[in-house]
Symmetry: C2
Subunit: 432 residues, 2 copies
């Protein structure tokens, strides 16, 4: 190369042809379960008005404070008619709610269930399993207040993971109360912690005033010791929240899935109410959450819509793939080959061979040939490399007689057939 | 609503659950044909180093001059270690080549074929069929110099459109020569046009010096009259380019597809050599191209790799959907309903009904219920609305006997079954 080639940006990944097996297994499982559970497909743009996340995700969250990619809208000719700041979406929930409101879906039917899949963007320090462009599969059940909907989303995530082949997921649930009871118990925690502020890490000392709940999931050893002495949140929430939580737990217990109550579980986003949950997998190491979700009853009204209870989750696709990779059978099976590789023994007949290749394809057979004028020997090697089930051998003799020689690569047998009957012959052997 | 809700950005679209039929038909057709033609799936990031397009797409193109979305990389904490300008990709070809080089794929096998599908971003004036976030399905056949590869990509695009249900596509092809012959014929065109500069539109007057080829596809009436008098490009290209073009045309003629030679066809990107083509559809109006492609033998080396001949195309998904919409049968069929809607006649049994719903789903039946404590009458209406094939009726009597009442909504028949046998009974009716 003459000069340093331009590389992909830090924290972004290409996905090459051999790398799709687990990706598609996960997405197929998700699509199947969304259908069984009655969730409709929704896609929203990659770019949104930055205010959607400032307002929706929350101004004080790490995402909005530090991680948003913003585009200067002052470039180009169209800048004059817009004063928005454009952002690459860091998460899917506020856009889903915006789309729901913008299409007036709330006026058509109160309760509606959606799923989405696509890239998200956060300006994080890139490391294994933590990308700047990553992908999420998520659901939003909008308009349902019943704890059975919370249960449905958890069971749905679990069903997707099971169908995708994961067996070692751990489901953690908690309730973080509602706008009624949260200020009260937050004060209780503050009071408890105030006396022991000097035992907390510097970050958590700052969190004492602004965001006391985030102290609960600090990973520092000293903080964990202090936190262990705190009264658990579920004991501090109001009666209605307690009932809601109990019905959820009963619904989960009625199913054959294992879950753990984690009274320290809080989520990094501002909009959660009552139920929060995470699905973890040990293959991930310290940052082991592959799916996070919960109830967000305040978000729709915060974004300008009517009071609307909601619950949803987002799965991290790359994180899930790491888990699937760890659990998957390491014995790599030979990839499926193409149906037919056409080998041309006569250089002047390339165009004629190409006609045969196209004819095979139009009959529904995957077919290919060499375009580089390579020797017939090199072409036979390519046929092996592509793991073709059949070869068509086309030389002077075949062209003269308007025939092809078909070689069954598995059985080693070969026979001749009429030029126009090649596809039919091969199809009948495949079906037999 | 209390204040003006945040809206989606101009030139971006949501896609709601009922809007996916044609989208999926197109993508399924593409995926099937890619498999038959031996193209492997490739995805590259949404964000790339801006230099990739400045160098690859071309500094003088409209895309790079006016339409690129760029992100300030100076925000956030990570800014210090990067001096790149980040861009939302405006097209898929330079990223595909970058990915190919970055993974050293050129060292593994000379000729490789890829396909991709995903969003692209251009800061254009939004209007019908012209979005700022739009989607493309494309292929890149990298490493093949044979005109049969050009033919393969054209036939592939045609096969995708036919499988997707389009019958009125027009294929236009042209050759714009190579770096050897292009300077010469460009000079001939310049000389011819110089004498008639005053007849050209102001834009084309400017193009005379910088980009004379773009005058050929100017839509202004006056310019067209001047252009009609020019010698056609295919008559001016060198012998090798002429042979290449002839073999392509022969290969297309050997297939049963109609195509038109359009000597005025040029493409808006700098990297094309020899073959260029467009597929048009009359449903689109003035801007009627739904697929554009061609050969780009210089791009790989321009991006730092070895000399590598390539050919590819990109389909505009939204433009293609407009064409499909225009051709599709307007008699909208009733959407497929869910398999089972569970109707709860006893409010205290909601959680029990939820267990039944989950059991049905885990047996592979799509099932749903009401979570809003609505009356049984309202629930029956929902069952109708979801177009369910079966209802399960669950009331006091059923619960007492550990049974369900199954109602076949098409035949109107109903019968009782054991609680645990509901899914099996329904499955057997569906299969019968």
């Amino acid at each position: 190369m003459t000069e340093k080639a331009i590389q992909s940006l830090a924290g972004t990944e290409d996905r090459l042809p051999p790398q799709w097996t687990l990706w598609h297994r996960l997405h197929r499982a998700a699509r199947n379960q969304f259908e069984l559970h009655g969730y409709g497909e929704l896609s929203t743009p990659i770019i949104e008005d930055a205010r959607l996340f400032i307002k929706g995700t929350g101004e004080d969250t790490e995402i909005v404070e530090k991680q948003m990619y913003s585009i200067s809208s002052s470039e180009g000719e169209e800048a004059n008619n817009t004063d928005e700041r454009i952002t690459l979406r860091p998460e899917g929930t506020p856009p889903a709610v915006r789309a729901y409101l913008e299409a007036d879906l709330h006026k058509k039917q109160k309760f509606q269930k959606f799923w989405y899949a696509g890239p998200m963007f956060r300006r994080e320090r890139p490391q294994k399993g933590r990308l700047r462009q990553f992908h999420q599969i998520g659901v939003e059940a909008i308009g349902g207040s019943s704890p059975l909907v919370d249960a449905e989303t958890i069971l749905l995530a679990d069903a997707i993971y099971k169908e995708a082949g994961l067996s070692s997921c751990a489901i953690n649930v908690n309730s973080i109360g509602c706008p009624e009871c949260r200020p009260k118990y937050r004060q209780i925690l503050k009071d408890e912690l105030a006396g022991r502020a000097d035992e907390l890490c510097p970050d958590c000392e700052k969190r004492l005033d602004r965001n006391v709940l985030r102290i609960l999931d600090c990973k520092e050893k000293d903080c964990r010791e202090v936190v262990d002495d705190l009264p658990p949140i579920p004991g501090l929430i109001c009666d209605e929240c307690t009932t809601h939580y109990q019905i959820l737990k009963d619904a989960l217990s009625a199913q054959s899935i294992a879950y753990v109550e984690d009274p320290l579980l809080v989520r990094g986003l501002d909009y959660y109410t009552r139920t929060v949950y995470e699905i973890k997998h040990k293959a991930l190491g310290a940052r082991d959450t592959i799916c996070g979700g919960g109830r967000y009853d305040g978000l729709v009204s915060q974004l300008g819509g009517p009071e609307t209870p909601c619950v949803g989750f987002a799965m991290g696709v790359e994180a899930t793939l790491i888990a699937m990779e760890a659990e998957s059978d390491k014995s790599v099976s030979q990839p499926n080959g193409i149906d037919v590789y056409v080998v041309c023994f006569d250089d002047s007949a390339r165009a004629k061979c190409f006609e045969q290749v196209e004819a095979l394809r139009s009959e529904g057979l995957s077919a290919d040939m060499d375009y580089e004028e390579r020797s017939s020997k090199a072409q036979m090697r390519m046929a092996d490399k592509t793991n073709a089930d059949f070869c068509l051998l086309i030389g002077e003799l075949e062209l003269e007689k308007n025939e092809v020689t078909i070689k069954d690569m598995k059985k080693g047998e070969q026979w001749t057939a009429d030029w126009d009957a090649a596809g039919e012959e091969i199809s009948s052997v495949i079906k037999a």
